[in-house]
Symmetry: C2
């Protein structure tokens, strides 16, 4: 049995990226010398993201292969040509995740991709790094939606000026 | 020289209250035995809030006096009758705060009151307690606005399932 995990950084006011999809505010943040990323990355089998997140990641990689050690899934109803380093998922995110419950899947990015996943209560674990920045506008991690859930704070890790909050599904 | 401080709890998705201005999700959160509240409260001279926050606080107090040890300011252009325990402020929040720089002022609540204060960059210090709850909708602490600022993570305190992040103005 796998799990669905979110891992990612937001501004204190809840944005994953500014209005131009820019992450300069994050890259300018002191993130210390130790990171939880490698240990997290080892635990996952696959990544799952939206088209825009994929394309922004490819820009940052200057076209290099995205996570070659993992299976990469990109949710898109508009992409037609196959991608060199990812499988295009045409079904909705909830159907996809329910059909892949054997894998540990990293949901990369939020907003539109995350909203139906939240509404279906499919995230098992969260690693959210909060950066000490107020952006005022941009792409929110948490779009408004019909969800309501209580989590359990498992632990926290300070990495320079980033504060990571790690939550797991609350026991009912 | 005083300072302007925000102290308050939000859900992980950034809400101060749900759509019905309800705080049950917060009251149901395990907040441990120790709190930073008393020490914080001793440092402030006055509270400053919007009309709705005042009225919600009075409901919770069943009409008892609001913070009798402090000066309480309620920002409102619609209240006409004087309040028993607060001074009504008819000017805009930024003008008010600039005229009261000798006091340590607690800005209670967010949203509409906070937005112009953020845009004028008047908050010197933040104590934000993050509750392990996703609400999906409600009254956001951070409304969208024309602000962009970098803070400095001063320290953090875990109180049961609440994680408090304490930020100060970043040195330029």
């Amino acid at each position: 049995m796998g799990k669905v995990v979110f891992y990612g950084a937001i501004s204190l006011d809840g944005y994953l990226a500014d209005q131009e999809d820019d992450l300069a505010w994050l890259f300018e943040t002191d993130t210390g010398v130790q990171t939880t990323y490698e240990a997290f990355f080892e635990t996952i089998d696959a990544t799952f993201m939206g088209r825009k997140t994929y394309q922004e990641a490819k820009k940052l990689l200057s076209g290099a292969f995205l996570y070659p050690e993992k299976e990469n899934y990109v949710c898109s109803t508009t992409l037609i040509e196959p991608l060199p380093d990812a499988t295009i998922i045409k079904e909705d995110p909830v159907t996809f995740l329910r059909a892949h419950q054997d894998q540990n899947i990293w949901v990369v990015g939020g907003g539109q991709l995350l909203q139906p996943i939240l509404e279906a209560d499919l995230i098992d674990e969260w690693y959210i790094q909060i950066a000490p920045v107020l952006l005022g506008a941009g792409k929110r991690l948490f779009k408004e939606g019909s969800y309501l859930s209580r989590l359990q704070l498992a632990d926290t890790t300070q990495m320079g000026q980033l504060m990571e909050l790690h939550y797991i599904r609350a026991a009912n």
